[in-house]
Symmetry: none
Subunit: 301 residues, 2 copies
């Protein structure tokens, strides 16, 4: 039998001029990035890997040689070329030229770049916009001094640090605990059932700090626990939403984050960022002591 037609994409749609703009359906594809993410669904595994690596740090990988590109994506060179061909380019240099042109346009008008979010992703992701707003709002109501105070309180290591959260916020407590446990000793995340934490109360005293995450609907069990801890003189740092969990009345420090987003769920993203900021601030404060500790931990690996 004679060789039948090669895989269909090779030189299928390239009759026209090189400068043609790519159209997909009714929507004009402006950037190559869009073109890729539009077609990534209909790509075979190898080419998809190429696409993902390119998008991950766009457009730099595309400016390198085919060999480097293929190595970065973990595929072979021909796969890269097939990938480029599928996007509609005649050859690799043409693809690179397109990327360079695009880059030139970007670099020339930095203004468009900042406008882009509202242009491309604006209407597309009201979720993102709301989240960004939440963060700005949250930090607007949160002075640097306040953050520094809390960081100092947590960093002064007179006692132990306990962290706990509610149904959806407990992962935030875990996240924070995972970091704090590295830069200082005696950090404990309270997991499991209510009865288990309750028993830990006997370990807590005036010198200790309890970090609680609680947004609505505020959990009864957490409130009870906070109250008991407060009675024992434990300092409470509360992460909550703008409507303030009842725990606020027991708390030494209260961080109120915005949580409203156009979704069925509340967003904990703002609180997450506050937590990260706090972790960063504490790490800086404990740098001297922490550096040794981190070295020690490293050597244990």
């Amino acid at each position: 039998m004679i060789s039948y037609s090669l895989p269909g994409f090779v030189k299928r749609e390239f009759g026209k001029t090189a400068e043609q703009s790519h159209e997909v359906g009714k929507t004009m594809i402006a950037s190559i990035a869009e073109l890729i993410s539009d077609r990534i669904g209909s790509m075979p595994a190898g080419e998809r890997r190429a696409a993902q690596t390119l998008i991950a740090n766009y457009p730099l990988t595309g400016l390198k040689t085919v060999a480097e590109f293929s190595a970065a994506a973990g595929v072979s060179s021909p796969t890269i070329l097939r990938f480029v061909a599928r996007l509609g380019f005649q050859n690799y240099p043409e693809f690179q030229s397109a990327l360079q042109d695009e880059l030139a346009a970007q670099l020339q008008s930095p203004a468009t770049r900042t406008l882009n979010p509202s242009a491309t992703g604006g209407a597309a992701s009201p979720m993102l916009e709301a989240t960004l707003d939440n963060m700005r709002e949250t930090f607007r109501h949160l002075s640097d001094k306040q953050l520094a105070d809390i960081a100092a309180r947590l960093a002064e290591r007179r006692g132990k640090t306990f962290l706990i959260g509610g149904r959806f916020t407990d992962p935030l407590a875990r996240y924070m605990a995972a970091h704090l446990a590295i830069i200082q000793p005696d950090v404990h995340h309270l997991a499991g059932q209510e009865s288990i934490w309750r028993d830990r109360l006997i370990d807590m005293g005036k010198r200790d700090v309890l970090v609680i995450f609680d947004i609505r609907r505020y959990q009864e069990s957490l409130i009870r626990f906070a109250e008991k801890a407060h009675e024992r003189g434990v300092q409470i740092v509360l992460f909550t939403d703008q409507w303030l969990s009842p725990i606020a009345r027991f708390a030494r420090h209260v961080i109120a984050g915005r949580t409203a987003v156009p979704s069925a769920w509340d967003s904990s993203a703002a609180l997450f960022v506050v937590a990260e900021t706090l972790i960063g601030a504490m790490t800086r404060q404990l740098e001297a002591a922490g550096a040794k500790r981190i070295r020690d931990l490293e050597s244990l690996r």
Copy 2:
């Protein structure tokens, strides 16, 4: 462990050969542009034209071929090469690599380019600014279609959903699992030791989806686990950083979030927001089926 990720990107040494080592005194040369404008005075006419052409639309001309560069500058190819050699580079490719590295650093932190816009009032927390940039940047590389695809994949409930994360990202997996478990059945977060997950592999098959969170340093145990799951035909959705965890090679869908912030730690905030967005999208998709399910759950309280 602690990765100091921000500024110090460009660590390439320009020209160690330096036959005529024009020592630049005490001032460190940060960018190639500076290097050029520093030495442009002591250049012959032809090379000066090359320098001016490059600076005129920096750095794009330098990324093209020698022939194109020479044509743009109106000089011959050897002049370009001599120009590059005078800057201290061994050869043209090395020069191009340096330009690309520089460009990568620029593109990575858009904050440095648009120096402190009056958005929040300038001296606000650089941590917050970096985080907001990370999110915008992350979503810029993430098309709505891609998100919708992933949401659809997770929402089509032909099989089970498993979630797992690394040392610092496992809380993200938990957070997502906590929400998904409400809107659909058969959602499992894989906790505890490696041996425990491994045993769960026998429950996983082609119809199932595994959501993995993995940012650097990428954990060996996770990679092994992902590989085994992949061999069993499990569809993998990967949340990673822009450098892409090795798991990307097994993944059906890859979400690359920006993680660089001016802190000792990497930030998972951008990935957190993507996760929330995904949760929201899935909730919307499963509204019909989910509504009943949520009512049922309510009545169980």
